[in-house]
């Protein structure tokens, strides 16, 4: 059973292995620097479906099928699917897994969904309640535009926003046995709201949450940044990353060259016209499932802290003048 460490960290007693990962992304992501790590690149934003929402479900479903294929597991071996996305009612995930015939939990953690799923799955496996769990998350530029801004059909002139929603899905299979990097501890995050109101500046809304969770993890474990090869945040973007660095510095934590951000890794910021980087559940999920797991298998990483970050805003509450609550969950992954 997991043991509580300090205020909010849990160390796992039993083995929780990331057995395999799979990621499928859209065309723009397939044009980015991580292209060769993804399992498939879908050029058509409809992915052969009639609507963007159906396309997102299709990409998520295909990623899950690819994951099973790569892991060598059958659907009947899987105890639970933990999955989520950015749409109302977790639509993309619910429809992606409606024919999967596996017990399913729909999660909403905005862009932090992947780490939320990993935290819960790791605790479930450690407790002995499950042998194999699939954690998956997706986002789609076009469905997110409809959800949070304007539907593409409306043809609105797009406000130059700082971040670009990633089209893609990532999935990993956690197991209590097998070969692969292990999850050794998890730090669930608290909701932090520093009063940011600008929905085009979600990096600033999420950075305080990321800082809070990272500080809690280091404090609880008694470690420093030097104990990690990489502290990987979800989708703070370039502006949010600078802010995280500043916030931690104020608390005497120096990230040095240990930090990177999935949002700035998945796109070439100079070439791809995305201003601050990528965002969306699919961003950190696909970067982790493809690139990071590959780095582990090549022996280039020994211990990382994966901290996917989420801006828990709703368009309705934003129109009512509310601020943006941020969240970040941390997962320690070791070779």
């Amino acid at each position: 059973m997991a043991r509580k460490l300090g205020s909010q960290t849990y160390t796992l007693d039993n083995q929780v292995v990331i057995l395999a990962g799979a990621a499928i992304v859209g065309k723009k992501e397939g044009d980015g620097p991580l292209a060769r790590y993804f399992d498939n690149i879908v050029d058509d934003e409809y992915a052969g479906e009639k609507t963007f929402e159906a396309a997102e479900s299709r990409i998520l479903r295909d990623t899950y099928v690819k994951l099973l294929e790569k892991s060598g597991k059958a659907a009947t071996d899987i105890n639970f699917v933990l999955s989520g996305d950015l749409l109302d009612q977790c639509t993309a995930a619910s429809y992606a897994f409606r024919d999967a015939n596996i017990p399913y939990f729909g999660l909403f953690g905005a862009c932090s969904t992947m780490s939320e799923a990993l935290v819960l799955a790791a605790l479930l496996i450690d407790s002995g309640a499950a042998d194999n769990i699939v954690c998956a998350a997706s986002s789609h530029f076009c469905s997110a535009e409809r959800q949070f801004r304007f539907p593409l059909e409306y043809g609105s002139q797009r406000t130059p926003t700082s971040q670009w929603t990633v089209t893609g899905a990532g999935a990993v299979l956690l197991s209590n046995q097998g070969q692969g990097p292990r999850i050794t501890s998890v730090t669930p995050g608290k909701i932090i709201d520093e009063g940011i109101k600008d929905a085009n500046n979600m990096g600033a809304a999420m950075a305080p949450a990321a800082a809070d969770t990272i500080m809690a993890h280091l404090r609880d474990t008694g470690r420093t940044c030097d104990d990690y090869d990489l502290i990987l945040t979800g989708d703070l973007g370039s502006f949010g990353s600078t802010m995280l660095r500043e916030l931690l510095k104020r608390n005497n934590i120096d990230l040095k060259d240990k930090h990177n951000d999935c949002g700035t890794m998945i796109f070439d910021l100079n070439r791809q016209d995305v201003v601050c980087g990528g965002s969306g559940c699919g961003c950190s999920a696909s970067v982790l499932s493809a690139y990071i797991l590959e780095q582990f298998s090549q022996g280039l990483l020994n211990r990382i802290l994966f901290v996917a970050t989420g801006a828990l805003l709703s368009p309705t509450r934003m129109q009512q003048g509310e601020t943006i609550p941020g969240i970040a969950h941390a997962v320690c992954i070791e070779a």
């Binding site: 723009k28 076009c142 593409l152 043809g155 002139q157 130059p160």
Partner: protein, 119 residues
């Protein structure tokens, strides 16, 4: 040819203002469009928009400010003819062609085209 150039210059100028509002302020596109219509109504009411229409033709009538101008003109005309009740009927009456055209052509385009990411 001179008319075309004038229409291009005036229409372009009105659109540049809109682009600057998108780039430099936090106004949403919907708010900017409403501002344009209201501005057109106010300018039209004071008779300040008509000179622009006469100089720039379609450059002034096509943008949303032109729609506001038509609303104002229609209301003034109807109020003069029928009294205060004209304030409720005049605007929509005068803008009927524009409104119906927007619905009809919008519907047709929605049927024959599919939205995509701008490449």
């Amino acid at each position: 040819m001179v008319d075309v150039l004038k229409a291009f210059l005036l229409g372009g100028l009105i659109c540049v203002i809109g682009q600057l509002l998108i780039d430099l302020t936090k106004l949403t596109p919907a708010r900017i469009m409403v501002c344009y219509v209201v501005t057109g109504v106010i300018l039209g009411f004071f008779g300040l928009y008509q000179p622009l229409v006469e100089w720039g033709g379609a450059g002034a009538t096509i943008p949303l400010t032109g729609f506001g101008n038509i609303l104002a003109k229609g209301i003034i005309k109807k109020v003069n003819e029928e009294g205060l009740l004209g304030a409720f009927a005049g605007g929509i009456e005068a803008a009927a062609v524009g409104i119906t055209a927007a619905i009809v052509f919008g519907y047709i385009m929605a049927i024959i085209s599919k939205p995509k990411i701008k490449s």
